[in-house]
Amino acid sequence: MIEHKEILSDADLLQLFKMTGSREQAFTAIVRKYQQRLYWHVRRMVVRHDDTDDILQHVFIKAWRGLDQFRSESGLYTWLYRIATNETLTWIDQQKKRTFLSLSDYESKVEQTLAAEPGFDASKLEWRLQQAIQKLPEKQRVVFTLRYYDEMPYEKMSEVLDTSVGALKASYHHAVKKVEKFIGQF
């Protein structure tokens, strides 16, 4: 039995995962350690809880399959964020293709989804911020949420998104200006 799961390092968890007999326990500890951060990362992109849950399960199933081959150069945290980001962007792409929606139609659908969330109140700043985030292009949205909510350093973000630090800084600055402009309209 793995005790004190929350204090085990990624390296320890990976070692336990590769040992016969403790795979499931180690995997459970990994899920517990990262589930909340990954959940919010996905949720801020797709809005609905059910969609987030579905994507998050796919993320961890992919992680299970890939953990045996995982080499810890990039770090478990970065690797999981990369899987979550790719799964989320793929899901958004599929939604657009499946429903044959144009960009403006898709944006209005996301706005409706957001407005249907329990407790939605367009007069409150935190909801207006969510509306502004949903108006950003997907990749800019990822950059904004990783930096604004997760406060992820640009170097780590560069590993997750496979993009240069300079491009990420520029993308974030543009996103902040757009969000500021949207919020300032009210």
Partner: protein, 182 residues
């Protein structure tokens, strides 16, 4: 208010109003969601994705020897002589076989004869029930390479018959054009 960090300092430079917003998401989550998620994922892995089976580390080291021993033990245990089949037929067996063969040939012959009988409904009997219009409609719907000129010629002979002096070629052509777009 969020704690001071590199990201916050950057945000204050970029846009001070956003820096003062509490960075928590307003979305709600079902109660106990995070407590149950690990178990749900493992269950899904076990049910649908298939968790890979685990084997002892040394399992494959002595596997060839174990397989060979098992095969040898089985071959030694099954040394009973195989059952011999007799190839000598008694006269009764031969008679039964010939009878069965003759009956089979007879049934096949009767079946073939039945299939080659003439159809009970003749073309002549059907003709009054199928109008020329239905025939043309069928041809238009079912023939991809229908030749309208050939059809027109055939219709001229069939439809007008003795009354060829009553309908001109032009009239037939117009009829086909307006009714069948030919």
């Amino acid at each position: 208010m969020r704690p001071t960090s590199e990201a916050l300092e950057e945000l204050e430079v970029l846009c001070s109003p956003l820096a003062s917003v509490n960075p928590t998401s307003p979305f709600s989550i079902p109660t106990g969601y995070f407590d149950q998620l690990p178990a749900r994922i493992l269950l899904r892995l076990n049910q649908h994705e298939g968790v890979p089976y685990e084997v002892a580390d040394a399992y494959f080291n002595d596997a060839p020897q174990r397989f060979l021993s098992a095969a040898l033990a089985e071959s030694e245990g099954s040394k009973a002589p195989p059952k011999q089949l007799s190839l000598v037929f008694t006269p009764l067996q031969r008679a039964v076989e010939w009878t069965a063969a003759a009956m089979l040939v007879l049934f096949m012959g009767l079946g073939a004869l039945k299939n080659y009988r003439q159809p009970t409904v003749s073309h002549a009997a059907l003709k009054p029930h199928i109008s020329d219009e239905q025939i043309v409609g069928y041809l238009v719907n079912n023939l991809d390479d229908l030749d309208p000129l050939w059809l027109e010629e055939q219709l001229h002979q069939v439809v007008t018959g003795d009354a060829s002096d009553q309908l001109s070629t032009q009239e037939i052509r117009e009829y086909l054009y307006y009714n069948y777009s030919l």
